[in-house]
Assembly symmetry: C2
Homo-oligomer: 354 residues x 2
């Protein structure tokens, strides 16, 4: 642990292994086994490494509240079935989302190792963090990935006037044996709900393109937006993409979908039965690492070489910002909100002695 002055305030910077120890103990304090707590922490810390603090260890607040009212099962019996050579059906038994996510990712990678492509459908899950940590783990082992999850309803159908679909995240990864993998992690709304929640916490207004109020009218008030619903990118196209993610993650996985997904805010003690899907492709079956590295480097170079419209902002490839942030924080330490640190210490007190 070391510290740094940021905006005049002394902030604590964490080494990854220190944070892994603390977060693991915190999730143990919430009832998880040491191994499971370690897996969940790994995903959330990876989010913080990427700078995605809204989807990182800050989630211990909502995960913790739900674990404490038994809305999430602290010690689930996660099962994996194989209905076909390359398919896996994962039942998360209402476990913490990143735990179910990691189990499903592993199952899909196993299937892909065997068949070249593998897919896991997960049900009985909860919020599983951001997608890019999973895509990175897959890419580091040579797998390209398409990963999605459904979510609490916050978006109206295109042309409709109430929230009936989730702001389902969709992510992609392509490994690069010679450098940065390609990582794309996006939701179908113009912005994430967490961004509106943060604006509300800071007492700031929001652009009127982000969300509407309860009646479907665009609003600049984050409170009204949190009571209303998010707007999708590209109109009917973003609507269609969000539906597709819910069909693969929820409908086909035998999880809840659309309005069947319970809100963890309104009903924290009830299982959400969220679903995820993981499609993994073993790129080593397509060509040598040298072949892939050469193509990935060339691909990025072509994009970087486009003359920027604004000379001060060169063209980037998806994933670059997160991977740079990760490299910086691995070197200099990870910045965490002091309130999150406090909560981690609070829950860690309940952990069994090592």
């Amino acid at each position: 642990m070391n510290s740094e002055k940021i905006n005049g305030v002394t902030q604590t910077l964490w080494q990854e292994n220190e944070l892994q120890d603390l977060a693991t103990r915190a999730f143990q304090g919430l009832g998880l086994t040491q191994e499971d707590a370690g897996q969940v922490s790994k995903v959330l810390i990876q989010a913080d490494l990427f700078g995605l603090s809204t989807h990182g260890l800050s989630r211990i607040e909502s995960y913790g509240e739900r674990l404490q009212v038994n809305g999430i099962n602290a010690q689930p019996n996660i099962t994996v079935q194989s209905p076909a050579l390359a398919l896996r059906l994962v039942d998360g038994d209402n476990g913490v989302g990143p735990l179910v996510g990691m189990r499903a990712l592993q199952a899909a990678m196993d299937a892909a190792k065997q068949c070249g492509i593998g897919m896991a459908f997960a049900r009985g899950s909860n919020h599983f963090g951001p997608i890019s940590p999973y895509s990175l783990i897959a890419a580091e082992q040579g797998f390209a990935s398409i990963i999605g999850s459904n979510a609490t309803t916050t978006i109206a159908p295109w042309g409709g006037s109430d929230a009936r679909l989730g702001n389902s995240p969709l992510g992609f990864g392509v490994p690069n044996p010679g450098g940065n993998p390609f990582l794309l992690d996006m939701a179908m709304s113009v912005v994430a709900r967490a961004k509106i929640r943060n604006a509300f916490k800071r007492g700031e207004s929001i652009p009127d393109t982000w969300a509407t109020d309860q009646k479907g009218v665009p609003t600049t008030d984050p409170k009204a937006a949190l009571d209303g619903f998010l707007l999708p990118i590209g109109g009917h196209k973003g609507y269609g993409l969000a539906l597709m993610v819910d069909m693969f993650a929820g409908l086909l996985s035998n999880a809840a979908y659309l309005t069947h997904v319970k809100s963890w805010v309104d009903a924290p003690d009830e299982p959400q039965n969220l679903g995820h899907f993981f499609i993994l492709i073993d790129t080593t079956k397509l060509g040598s690492p040298q072949w892939l590295a050469a193509r990935m480097m060339d691909f990025a170079e072509i994009l970087h070489d486009s003359p920027p419209a604004d000379a001060t902002r060169p063209v980037i490839v998806p994933g670059e910002i997160e991977l740079e942030k990760m490299a910086y924080q691995k070197q200099n330490g990870i910045l965490l909100d002091p309130a999150v640190v406090e909560l981690l210490y609070h829950h860690a007190k309940g952990a069994p002695r090592a």
Copy 2:
């Protein structure tokens, strides 16, 4: 064949089988074997049935020009390799796109039947029509699908100022044993390039949100837009999605990608080496047809029940417009541009006598 008055003009309406015969003979006239010509015609006629006339038989114009200058190989030797149980590598040998597409679709369905999920990467291909015909064929046989293709560069990287990526189409399908499948077929631009080409042909101006001119400045002139590049949906999100499609369709399939894709307008006599990918999932491995039908009907019902923002425009599910158009045209006949009909007759003259 029958006829109907549309906007005061008498138009000829075609029965599907009549059109299949004529189009097959037209592609035979362009040098394809009868079987291959039939496959290509099937895909393009399905596009016309869906009302996607810009991607239907009208394409015989550009396909025909390129076949005549040997830019496309009329009688390709398409090969299929299996580097892993569920993977297929299709080399299209520069054949007509829909022919390569149909071969790759079949290869991926075969792999999915065997393993539950299957994927085909196609290289050495050309423009393969719209995606929804493939998704429909797959859905009718119980397969969910994720399908994409790369394309001639018409979009600038986000923040860049020249066209370095294609307006790559991406499509999804989910079967419904009880009614309409879900079909989503979209490109990453706000509109398709064909829409701008049509506006240009009709001498109409376009909204300034569709594309920019050569210098990256938004334009209402379709000619300037055709010389410039398209704008993506959702800014960096649409940019990221377009890159993902090109990585799966072009980079991983060992086809051309980004600026390596030759323009069929500037170099009609050179192979484009386009790539496609087909991911197929055998939904019969996930549950019974009754289970899937019940969930699909419920899914659509939840969306349809959202009170419309505009009372005259009820909420729809992706694919509904196309499937309704198909049902209507199967009943009443297919409407075709007379210039396309003339071109079909022209090429059919060169077909061998049956």
